[in-house]
Amino acid sequence: MSAERTITDFVRALRSADVKVSTAETLDAVKAVDLVGYEDREFLKTALRSVLAKSEAEKDTYDRLFELFFQRKQKEQSEKTESSEQETDEDSGEPQNFMDIAESSDEAVIEMALERAGQASGLQDIRFSTQTSYYAQQMLKEMGVREMEAELLEQLQAHTPEGDAEAERMMDARKKMTARAIEFAKQQFEVFGAGATQQFREDFLAGKRINEMDRSDMERMKPLIQKLAKRLVSKHSRRKRRKNRGQLDIRKTLRANAGRDGVPFDVHWRQTKKDRPKLVLICDVSGSVARFVRFLLLFLYCVRDVVPDLHTYAFSARLKDVGPYLDTSLDGFESAMERILAEIGWGSTDYGQALSDLQVDHWSKIDRRTTVIVLGDARSNHGDPRIDIFEELAAKTKRIVWLNPEARPLWGTGDSEMLRYFPHCSTVTMLSNLKQLERAIDDVLMHYS
């Protein structure tokens, strides 16, 4: 196998594990291998690492895959040099007989055959662990198991003691090779498929409806939320810093150069100041929405870097500032959530009361730079929704974003007041999965840049 082929295969394995490697980097890797050679394994590993893996997470993945990948390659290569000497008189390109392979005492012959069969059956495309047995079957086929089975049948039909013994031998060989092929396929799955499965699972989770999730999903969501939040943070921390450099600040320039008779030696440029995001979060924590609140809060607490000014209120009947509960580390987040739910949640919802509490106690924290995010289903048990306060709130703030877990056709049915709040909101979005949540927060932050 040529050096290029080895590297491209390795790059493929890396890509499937979510290490982003570009074509240019693959070329660099080939050049690096030319320079470094295969002799010194550690040297090769360090060299390729600096070319291919560009972050700490990628370096970890790289190290794991390098071991898996090159262990095999090295074995193969040393075998090749040995076997090439032995096989010069034979025709080495000819596929060997199944029984010859299975009963070979030389481990190298078996390994080689597995490798070859794996390549012929496209094992690099393996994506799920459930595919291993399928690929193992394909590999056996490539190694000539069909021919062997035909012979096996003949032997059994002969009904002679020698034939039975021969058949016994063949069945043993098949059993042994099946096990080997499965093992090999599993190994390959580790190299090429494991990362892809992870990626697939995350995509699936991000699109899954939050109220259909069970406990095990919730645990898996945490790292995913952190990942999405990190993406938002890096996106928005950059945008915040943009300045307007092209325009001349005439007033400042004139003043600075007054001493030089107004000849503009020093020029000053106009700069635009950006508002820092200021969020007020009002969460309905009654039974139906509690689950969404958990995710929204978790999400927002992950993006705290770009939202330093964040106030969180929760209510079912009376509104309460829950910021202090949540000022814990991420590990303590669950217990903080439990406490909030125990204290405030599960009551009968009253949006009107919550809004008037907000007006009485926390009105001063809201100004024209604030975005108010309301998370709730707007089901207020037929109480007065206090549209008047909401209208005043809308006039006072930059934007009001309403995230409603209910589907659009249900808005306004029964005790839902959504359609009456609707005209005063800047946007009302249905929120059913993580992707929509990310988009909603992204949209909110976008308005500050």
């Binding site: 320079l35 550690e42 360090t46 600096s50 560009k54 700490e56 370096k59 450099r245």
Partner: protein
């Protein structure tokens, strides 16, 4: 100008193998590791910039400085910050000088254009003059341009690239991939001998993919005890062996704690100097408490570790004892 292969080979010839890189850096007092040397070696031979990431104070900037000292080529340093732009990194017109010259030339202008009849005549006559004010004489070269103009190679250090804006990062791409810069009024200036480019980042923000893809990536973390001892020994030669072992093992222990800012190599070196000044020849609790503010820069960190200091100091002290005794002997504790 074209890239001169022989000249490149000559300038960077001391870096012909990884071992040579390590030795070379050692000769100017930089204790390298296998990984660092490999990255430098590859950077020179693949002609690629290196992006170095890692916590503050582990010797990222120092690597560039040592490299330039060893190769005896100039070091061009560009410190990045928010709002850094081309005029401060690449070039700027000497605006004041241009203005001054125009003022002087104003009076002489009549001699040139005095008898020109029509506008067309006048522009024709002015066009015969060169672009006087936009020539090299009025150009103020900044680090990037200076690095490209060096005829015999250089080390270009772009420090703390993560502090600059996204636009600046994009602007750097031309410099990093082709080793050339463009001044619209003059043209493209290409480096005769491409500089060794070293970018450092403290991870204030994530860098763009485009930039990362163009660079080799090197992560310098906290060193292991053996390398840290070597580094401190190189920087503070007067420190005694036993104290050195003790203080390094104390710092290594401290780094495993949950701290807001973990001490890095520069702090270890400072601490070694401090202890030397205080005439300490071994670690004890009182001494550590007195000097802890050299290692820990946050009050909350000092408070958090306060309870454990005693046992940590004793552990560190015994670490050196057991190290000095030949194996097989019981350690004194």
């Amino acid at each position: 100008m074209t890239i001169d292969k022989d000249l490149i080979a000559e300038t960077y010839s001391p870096l012909s193998s990884v071992a040579a890189v390590s030795e070379g850096l050692l000769s100017v007092g930089y204790i390298s590791s296998e990984e660092i040397s490999t990255a430098i070696y590859l950077a020179v031979h693949l002609r690629k910039p290196i992006l170095i990431e890692g916590p503050a104070g582990v010797g990222k900037t120092d690597l560039a400085q040592s490299l330039s000292r060893y190769l005896d080529v100039p070091l061009e340093r560009l410190q990045c910050y928010e709002g850094l732009d081309e005029s401060k990194s690449l070039y700027e017109w000497k605006y004041g000088k241009q203005l001054l010259y125009t003022q002087i030339l104003k009076d002489r202008l009549n001699d040139v254009v005095g008898d020109a009849g029509t506008i067309a005549d006048l522009t024709g006559r002015l066009a015969t003059f060169e672009d006087l004010f936009f020539s090299h004489d009025f150009l103020e070269p900044r680090p990037l341009l200076r690095a490209m103009e060096q005829t015999s190679g250089s080390v270009l250090l772009i420090d703390e690239i993560d502090k600059s804006d996204e636009e600046f990062e994009a602007f750097l791409l031309e410099v990093l991939s082709d080793y050339q810069v463009t001044v619209p009024e003059i043209g493209t200036i290409k480096a005769n001998v491409p500089p060794i480019v070293i970018l450092t980042s403290n991870n204030v923000r994530d860098l763009g993919d485009a930039l990362k893809r163009r660079c080799l990536h090197l992560y310098i973390g906290f060193p292991d005890a053996a390398r840290e001892r070597e580094i401190v020994r190189a920087r503070v030669p007067d420190v005694s062996d036993s104290l050195l072992t003790q203080l390094v093992s104390f710092v290594q222990d401290l780094r495993t704690k949950d701290l807001r800012k973990r001490p890095s190599i520069s702090e270890t070196v400072d601490w070694a100097r401090t202890l030397l000044l205080m005439h300490a020849d071994s670690l004890d609790e009182a001494m550590v408490r007195k000097t802890l503010n050299v290692l820990l820069k946050y009050e909350s960190d000092i408070e958090a570790t306060s309870n454990a200091i005693g046992s940590m100091a004793r552990n560190a002290a015994s670490a050196s004892e057991s190290k000095r005794l030949p194996s097989g002997y019981p350690s004194l504790s």
